[in-house]
Each structure stands twice: as C-alpha cells, then as structure tokens.
C-alpha cells in the first residue's frame, strides 16, 4: 500500500476514501476491486476517451492498472503525478466501461478514488468554490447564484465576453457556462412562490442543481408530474453528489446526512429528476460503512428514493417526433433501474422508433466534464452529435438536465434538426 492509502491511526475515524465498492458479487475493498480487472479489455470499446485517443493511458484497463501499480507500491505517485492526473482526469466517469465489463468493475469509482488520493480538484477554482458553497454555506450560494442569474439574464455575461474579460484563464469557464445555459435562467423557487407546501406530503421532491438553480422550468415540469401525489420540494439541501465527485468525502457525507434528516424517517418517497442523484442516493450506504447507525439510515433512504420516470404519464401525447433515443449518459453507470424504467415507458410510446443505445454510442460528457477537460469534451460531444446525425434521430431524451443542456448546445451548433430534452418534457 502506498502512502496515500495508508490506514488512519484512529480506526474509528471515517476514512478519506471509500472502502466498500459495489460489485455484483458483493462489496469489495478498493484494492480487491481493482485486482478483479483481469485485463480482458472488454471495456475498451465502450470508453469514449479510448476510442478517441486509442492509447492505453485513456482506457479503463489502463486506468485500473495504474491504480493497481500505485496501490502495490510499484510506482510512487510523485514522479508520475502529471501522467497519472492526465489519465485519471480524462475519465468521463460515465461508467460505460462498467457496462461493458463482464465483471462489472466500477472503474469510474476507482478513478474517483485516485483523484481524491491525488488531491485533484479539476474544476476551475472559482466555479468549484461557488458550487461547494451549496452544501457548506447555502445562503451564500443562493446569493451568488442569484447574482450570476442576474448577470446572465441582463446580458452582463455577454458584455464581459465582448470585452474579452472571460478570456482570462481562470474565467474561461464562464464562456462555456454561458453557452450551455438556457437563454433565461430561472430558479425553481420563483416558479413555486405561490404554491403552499402540503402538510402531509405524498412525495418529497429533491430537485437537482440544474432543476433548482439553472433551469427552473425543468424543476417545474418535474413538480407538475408529481402534482397528483402532493409533492413537497426539499429546498436548501443537496444529495452531496458534487462533493463526492469534486470535493471531499467528509463533505459528501455531511450533505447526505443533512438530506437524510430533512427527508425524515417516514416512508414518504423521495423523488429526484436526475439519474446521477438517484444512483448516488441508492449507493449512500457505502459512504457510511464506518457507522452502523448512519448506514442503516442511508439504507432506508436508498430504499425510498425514486426516479421521476416512475411518475411520468404512461401514455403521453407526442407530436412531431419520429426517431427517439434515450441518452444513457450518467455518472458511474448507465445500467441502473432508472434507465430500465424509462426505456420501458419509451418502448411503449415509440415502439420501433426508439433507437437502441449501444455499447459504442458515445455518451454525452456528464456533470462538469466540459469545464475540466474542455478540448476532450468538445471531441466527445462532436462524436455524440455524429452518432445522432448518423441515426437521423429527432430527439434525444436525457435522465439528467445538465447533460441535456450540454448536448443541446452542440446540437444547435452542428445538427439543429435534433434536440435534447430531459424526460420530464416528454409532453412537450
């Protein structure tokens, strides 16, 4: 074991890395999980970065082997930090490799572990700071988000771009954010100002970051789907997914604990509009393998969490769309029940016009990737657009709003006859 993974002196203290990774055969330690990669390379062709670069460095097999070499102490991190970071940071964390792997090895989780060990915070500093306030200082986050909304909606950002200020390296991310965001940013809170929260809610709606702060209409559409179940929106809490991917595990745990407390101990379902969040909450228990009490609570919440697809009308009215695809881009895995349920619904509606999303279909870069790997993200998105154009797809439906925003931008640019939408907008 190398210096990054040496056990902490106090065994009761929660570790700064996950020691319980999910596998079809049960829970495995990180080292065991890495060793289960027998280098068969079945994952390679489903990995978008490998397909683009055709280098072992960018393949899931390569990433697993790097981690194994480091864990076994065969390589010290220091002399190869730049190379290791290059390999790990290029990973989309899309989990397509896990779907292609016969042993379902969670390579994306391994990569994340390595990133944590390296102390990599690949998002631009300012963006990272703002987003991390969501759990650490919610009020500060809301104020900053409102300021950003005002800047975007009042063409302030456009002005900054025109002046060339956003060309500064630490502000460059603003350009892309401005590109992908909707023309007018709204908050879900604005839309639901007049709504009174029910006293005895039937469901608890946990809006994703994009539904709450970037595209309130998306949150509203999800909320409306839940109307018949007396929904209550959980404002001011987050799932901790951002912290899990970009921050520290401690903060991710903290956010998860806060959500568990907000959701209470009842059996009211907690519904979310993002497959990433849904899958993350499903996997909450492994965050708390050090505490039986919290692990039990996490299990309970994992059993209550639902995806918005469960609440979609079974036969929505669809017009003007012929060929449809469900984009399975997500963090960590696209083989979860959220996709299965959505696919069932879509198959009923679109029948043969629902196009198959195969193992070689390029995923859309999920949450934040385009901010940390701008060029590679551009190439991946371009491949995605090519896939869509080749199959003459009219609409691509997403289970995550951020990915839909990302692809929409590229579709508008290169293939405007198709559009990307979140599944809650199935009714238009």
């Amino acid at each position: 074991m190398n210096e990054f993974f040496s056990p902490t002196l106090d065994p009761r203290r929660p570790k700064e890395h996950i020691d319980a990774l999910p596998a079809p055969g049960g829970i495995r330690s990180l080292y065991d999980s890495v060793c289960f990669c027998n280098r068969c390379n079945s994952c390679a062709q489903s990995c978008p970065t490998f397909r683009l670069r055709q280098e072992e460095f960018f393949s899931p097999r390569g990433r697993n082997q790097i981690l194994r070499l480091v864990l076994e102490g065969k390589f010290k991190i220091a002399p190869y930090r730049r190379l290791i970071e290059k390999s790990m940071a290029s990973c989309l964390l899309c989990g397509a490799c896990a779907a292609g792997c016969p042993g379902k090895i969670p390579t994306a989780e391994h990569v994340l572990e390595m990133q944590r060990a390296l102390g990599v915070r690949p998002l631009p500093v300012l963006l990272h700071k703002i987003l991390s306030w969501r759990t650490s200082s919610p009020r500060l986050f809301e104020t900053t988000a409102a300021l950003c909304r005002w800047a975007h909606n009042s063409y302030g950002v456009k002005l900054l771009r025109a002046c060339g200020i956003t060309r500064l390296p630490f502000l460059r991310w603003i350009n892309h954010a401005d590109d992908i965001l909707p023309h007018k940013i709204t908050f879900l809170r604005q839309h639901l100002k007049k709504e009174n929260p029910p006293h005895n809610p039937g469901v608890l709606y946990l809006p994703s970051l994009e539904a709450a702060y970037l595209d309130g209409s998306l949150g509203l559409a999800a909320y409306q789907k839940l109307q018949g179940h007396q929904p209550k929106v959980l404002f001011g809490v987050s799932s901790g997914l951002f912290e899990y991917v970009y921050g520290s595990l401690r903060r991710a745990r903290h956010a998860a604990q806060k959500l568990m407390m907000s959701a209470g101990n009842g059996s009211t379902p907690v519904v979310t509009d993002s497959a990433d969040v849904f899958f993350f909450i499903k996997n909450y228990p492994r965050l708390f393998s050090h505490s039986k009490v919290w692990e039990r609570k996490a299990r309970r919440l994992a059993a209550r969490v639902r995806f918005i697809a469960d609440y979609l009308p079974k036969k929505p009215q669809i017009q003007g769309i012929n060929r449809v695809q469900i984009d399975k881009s997500a963090l960590f895995s696209f083989e979860n029940e959220a996709f299965e349920k959505t696919e069932k619904i879509f198959r009923v509606i679109f029948k043969k016009n629902l196009l198959h999303y195969g193992y070689k279909d390029t995923p859309t870069p999920p949450f934040g990737y385009s901010f940390r790997k701008e060029n590679l993200s551009k190439e991946v998105c371009f491949c995605r657009v090519k896939d869509i154009a080749r199959t003459q797809t009219d609409a691509v439906f997403f289970l995550s709003g951020l990915s839909a925003m990302e692809l929409n931008y590229w579709l508008k640019k290169y293939y405007p006859s198709a559009k990307a939408e979140h599944i809650v907008r199935l009714n238009g």
Binding site: P24, N38, C40, N41, F57, Y80
Partner: protein, 666 residues
C-alpha cells in the same frame, strides 16, 4: 535492452514525437495482455499511419531492436509480452475499414479494425464476416489474423485464415509483400496466419464476406450425460447437418451461469447444448426436424426451440454470460484452449475434471462441441502465489491431457509464451526444429515478436520421435542417403501432374494405405501415394464424401500441387519427410489447430519442393460436396522473393528442386 537517445530521436522523427512513449509508467501499461505474462518494453510506438509501418520496422531491424506488434492485447497466451524488451508497435490506430465491395463481396481493412465493427458494417449491407471470436467486440482483425482466430461458428464457416483473400505482409526485415491466393506455390497467407507476429505482420487485409443467412433457428438441448451430447453432435455430422454453432457446457458451468444470468437453463442436466441452424426456411425446417429426431434418439432430457428473437436472445444469454459469471468468482480467469478430436471430448473432459479436482481448483467448462475445442475457465487469485502456481500447473496438465487424447495445446488462442513449454508435449524435435528453422529463415535476427511459440531447449524436453511406417522408413533412408551424397530428387506419385525432370525420382507409390476412415470425427487418414480414384471408391463404400474428385493422380500429388484449394483447406493433419530425411508431423484429426506454424498450408502447393508428403488427414462429409474447379498443376514454382529463405530452411542443399523468385511490390 537500452535504446540510445539518438535512436529514440530518430524514431520520433519517423513515428511522430507524440507517438513514441518511453516513460516507465507508459511502458508498464504496455507490459501486459489478458494473460499472466508481464514484461516491460523499452519503447512504445503508436503507429498512426500504415505507410510508416515498414519504415519503422526497417529502422528497428537496422538497430537490432526487437519489436512486438500489438493491438487490443486480448491475448490469453502472452502473445503480446515483450520477452526481450524492445519496441511495442501499437496498431490500434490503424482502424479504418477502407472498402466494402458488395459486388465482389470483400472488405479491405487495416489491422486495427475491431472485428465486430466489420461484422456490423457488413451486416448492414446484408453480408457476413463469419469468424466470430468471443471477444469480437474488442479484438482486432489484425490480431485475429495473427492468431487465426475462429470462434463459435468455426464448425460451419471456418477460421480467419479461410477469409483472407489478399494481404499486405510486412516481413520481419521490413519488406512489404502483397500476397494473394491462387498463385503457384504454398498457401503463404494460410501459413502466415496464426504465426502470432513471429513472422512479420499484416498491414492490410482483404477479407472475404459471404451472404448473411436471413433465417436462424436456435435450440437448447440438455442431456443426462456428456457422452450423449457429443454423440448427438457426431450423429448430426453423420446426417450432413452442420449447425452454425454448437456450444456446450457441463453441469457445474450451467449451474454457475444460471445463478448469475437466470437464463432459464435446466440445472439438473449433465450436458447442455446450444445449437443453431441457418439457411433457407425450408432447409431449416427439414434440418430442425432431423435435429430433434437425433436429440430424442440420444435420450435428450429437454429440447427447446426458440420461437421468437427474444427467446433466441434468452437462450444465448447464459452462454454469453458464462465468462462474466466466472470473472465474478475470483480476480483471475485462466482460459484454456485445448482441442481434441470430437470423439475424444468426453474422455478429455473427464481428464480435465480430474485435474481440476486434484488441484482443488474451480473451473467452468465451456466448449465448442462441434470442433472439439474446449475452454476450461480456471478461476484463481494471482495475488495468492500458491493458487496461481497451482492454476498454472493444472493448465499445463490439461494441455498434456489434450495431447494424450490426440489433440493440440491450442485451438484458437495461440501459443504465445504461456503455452510455449506445452508445445513439447505435442511435437517431436524434428517438427519443432523445423518450426525453428522457418523462424530463422524469415526472421534471421529474431526480432519479430521473439521468444514465442517455440520452446526453449526443446530437443531435451519434447516428445519422442514419431515412429515411421516401413514404407516411410524406406523413403526416409533413401532421402538421407541422397542428402549425404548430394543427389537431386524429384517427388512423384502417379506422374500425372508435373513433367519429369532430370533429377532422380522419389516415388510415393509405396505409401498406398488408407489408414483410417473415422466416421465419428468425419476425417480420413491416408498415405500420400493412395490414388484419388481408390480413395473415392473407398469413401463411396463407407458412404462419405470429400471435396476431392477422383482422377489419375495421387492424394499427395493433388494436395502438393494444390489442384483443389478447397480440399487443401480441409487437410487437418500432415506428415512429411524433409529433404534432410527427417519426419515432421503436424495436426491430426483436430478441426482447428493454432499451435505452431501451419505446415498444412505451407505444404499445400509446395509441389514437393519442401519435402515429401507421406500422410494426410482431411475432413470428409456425410453429404456429397461441391467439387470445385480444379486447377492445372503449375509446372514451375514461382515464390515471392521474400519466401525463398523458407525453401533454403527446408532444403539447404536445394536437392528437391529450385524455386523461381517473383518480385513483389507494395
């Protein structure tokens, strides 16, 4: 080995600065494949343009740097391991399908094209690229050619070598040779295919495509014993029904797979067969009825036919999940690849089970029942040294058991470095010596994937020499005498194919026995001097058929002059006396063989210039075969210039004729 800075600088100039990797971490990432072998190269070259490949190889040869071609590195035998360091040539970027010609039904591809990509592209055009290794989604066509990969459909459609029409081959010295089929002389493409990169590499391939069968029907049949299952396959062959796939599993594997995939397989069965028929609806209907009849006759427990595409997918679900099911149980899976004559499968499997239980290991047992190729999936943890060494020992014993059953150590995965020692179980010192001299001839500096296939110090460890029949002994003595006295010889049979020369004839008339007509394996073993007319008569009497039509000549002559290429491809085993008087033996009653260099393809069309063929084993059929166009025997052998060294390796004194050189161009 140390590569100097100036050499690296020049390499970067040829391949591009970004495409030459030398840091220790990158080298570690190119030190493995799917096997347990790990050896670090000294430099990794990412080849991004086909045209740089010969230049690169010439440069490496000039500086005596060994090179190992590598693409997806899915090899199970350590074929990509760089035993002596040197350069890894990563060909994954050469991944373009250049042409698909739907009129003439072929595809031109670069070696890094993923097999499934070509299959998908061809399928959209109503065509089929038939070889289908289990790793088709990730392995490359160049790798398939290097290993002569086949897969589940091999029984009906054959392996990769049968589908290469033309190829650009880069010799181990960096010379590019355009090879086509149909030229006088040996079947060079067939010979090089399966040489695992030890005899150079293919830089471009023209692959045969066939019409995709529109109708496929899948069946799941279970039996209470393995013997009944195998007998069913034999009976099917006897009735002239060649299924598209015949996949089988033993009881343990069925249970493991069912637990994992819930495919609905009956777990009580001792043997489970998945059979697939293709063709026209009428043909399938007739064959399906006969198939059911045969299965019932062999007391099958269940017989399930898939009625819809969903049901078909469900039947395949378990088989496809078999590897996954085993990978979940332990970190490492060692996939064996022994092949035995079909009739020996029950015995071989019994031996395998004995070995596995003796070593206290766990293994799933999957096999392509149609061609006697079985894949024990030994699961273990390489971190546990004892377990890993037990697994390695067990794997070796399994290979020995295969050879004892008349089989080979590799049916489709190749020998690489991990099965190198096991080659000594299968071949005697003369055959291994001949393999070695072939390698020396084409790669005198031993730079192209060195250290693979041929065992180290084989003369001491290999099996005893193959006994010679009296007629073979007599000929061997005569050849040795002539070799010592430097007398030129001319191999002749009935004298019907080629004109006599002034050299002294060596007649095969004494080799006139049909040794065995095996109706379990559907093979015939006959001596080379048997006349084709006599052979046809005997086969007719036995009620079986071959592709070779009767004429005035002999069996050996027909094969050596390659007058019927289709027949030559059906030859699975061969014995030949080299011009030095040594007997080499290759193959046998096995339907596929990826161990060693393919001598059957080398001697097919060699016209007696590499030696005297004494015995052949070839496939026969239960139904009359299309007798394909026969060629006139070529009077003069004209070989590509790059291969004349092969003649010298087999016949150092040029006593068995001279070959003419043909200039080859890119």
């Amino acid at each position: 080995m140390q590569i100097s800075r100036s050499v690296l600088k020049q390499l970067k100039k040829i391949a591009g600065e970004q495409n030459v990797l030398t840091d220790a971490l990158s080298l570690s990432l190119y030190s493995y494949d799917c096997s347990l072998s790990r050896t670090k190269p000294d430099v990794v070259i990412l080849v991004s343009e086909g045209k740089t490949l010969p230049v690169l190889i010439q440069f490496l040869v000039k500086h005596h740097i060994p090179f190992t071609p590598r693409a997806a590195a899915t090899n199970h035998a350590g074929g990509c391991a760089t035993l002596y360091g040197g350069a890894v040539l990563d060909l994954t970027r050469l991944n373009r399908i250049l042409t698909i010609n739907t009129q003439e039904k072929f595809a031109d591809v670069q070696p890094g094209v993923i097999t499934a990509d070509l299959q998908d592209q061809a399928s959209r055009l109503g065509l089929l690229y038939a070889p289908d290794p289990a790793s088709a989604r990730v392995c490359t066509l160049g790798g398939n050619a290097a290993q002569n990969a086949s897969g589940a459909r091999c029984m009906k459609y054959g392996g990769t070598a049968d589908y290469i029409l033309e190829a650009d081959w880069i010799s181990p010295t960096g010379e590019t040779v355009h090879l086509t089929r149909g030229n006088p002389g040996p079947d060079w493409i067939g010979f090089l295919c399966g040489s695992e990169g030890t005899l150079g590499l293919f830089s471009q391939l023209r692959l045969k495509l066939i019409d995709e069968p529109k109708h496929i029907k899948t069946f799941l049949v279970t039996f209470s014993s393995l013997q009944e299952g195998i007998q069913t396959v034999t009976d099917l062959a006897a009735q002239g029904i060649i299924p598209r796939c015949v996949e089988a599993m033993d009881n343990y594997t069925t249970k493991t797979v069912e637990e994992f995939s819930h495919a609905g397989y009956p777990t009580g069965a001792q043997a489970l067969l998945i059979l697939e028929l293709d063709g026209t609806p009428k043909q399938i209907e007739t064959e399906a009825a006969r198939l059911e009849e045969i299965c019932r006759k062999n007391s099958c427990q269940t017989f399930t036919a898939a009625r819809t595409e969903a049901e078909r997918a469900k039947l395949w679900l378990g088989r496809r999940a078999a590897y996954a099911a085993t990978t979940l149980t332990a970190p490492n899976v060692m996939v064996g690849d022994g092949t035995v004559p079909r009739s020996q499968l029950p015995l071989a499997l019994q031996k395998v089970n004995e070995i596995i239980s003796r070593y206290g290991l766990t293994a799933g047992l999957l096999f392509h029942a149609g061609d006697g190729n079985f894949h024990p999936h030994l699961v273990f943890d390489e971190r546990n040294r004892l377990q890993a060494s037990l697994a390695a020992k067990a794997a070796k014993e399994i290979l020995q058991a295969c050879v004892e059953c008349g089989g080979t150590v590799s049916g489709e995965h190749g020998v690489g470095v991990e099965k190198r020692a096991a080659m000594a179980f299968e071949y005697d010192k003369h055959t291994l010596g001949f393999f070695s001299s072939l390698k020396n001839a084409l790669d005198p500096q031993h730079l192209s994937n060195p250290g693979k296939i041929i065992p180290v110090d084989f003369a001491e460890k290999c099996r005893p020499d193959t006994p010679l029949s009296p007629a073979e002994e007599q000929l061997a003595q005569e050849i040795k005498k002539r070799f010592n006295q430097n007398i030129s010889s001319w191999v002749t049979g009935a004298g019907s194919r080629r004109k006599h020369t002034t050299s002294s004839p060596l007649n095969t008339r004494g080799l006139n026995k049909i040794i065995e007509v095996d109706k379990n394996n559907y093979t015939v073993t006959a001596q080379a001097g048997v006349s084709t007319a006599e052979l046809a008569q005997r086969l007719e009497k036995e009620g079986v058929f071959s592709s070779l039509a009767a004429d005035k000549g002999t069996l050996g002559g027909a094969f050596a002059c390659n007058i019927c290429p289709e027949f030559s491809r059906q030859v699975t085993g061969l014995k030949a006396l080299l011009p030095t008087g040594q007997l080499v033996c290759y193959g046998g009653k096995i339907m596929k063989n990826a161990a060693g260099y393919n001598l059957c393809r080398l001697f097919a069309g060699s016209a007696g210039e590499l030696g005297l063929i004494t015995e052949l084993t070839f496939k026969i059929y239960a139904t009359p075969q299309n007798r394909l166009a026969r060629k006139q025997a070529a009077q003069n052998s004209v070989w590509p210039k790059a291969f004349t060294a092969v003649k010298q390796a087999a016949d150092p004194a040029f006593l068995f004729g001279q070959v003419k050189e043909r200039e080859t161009h890119e």
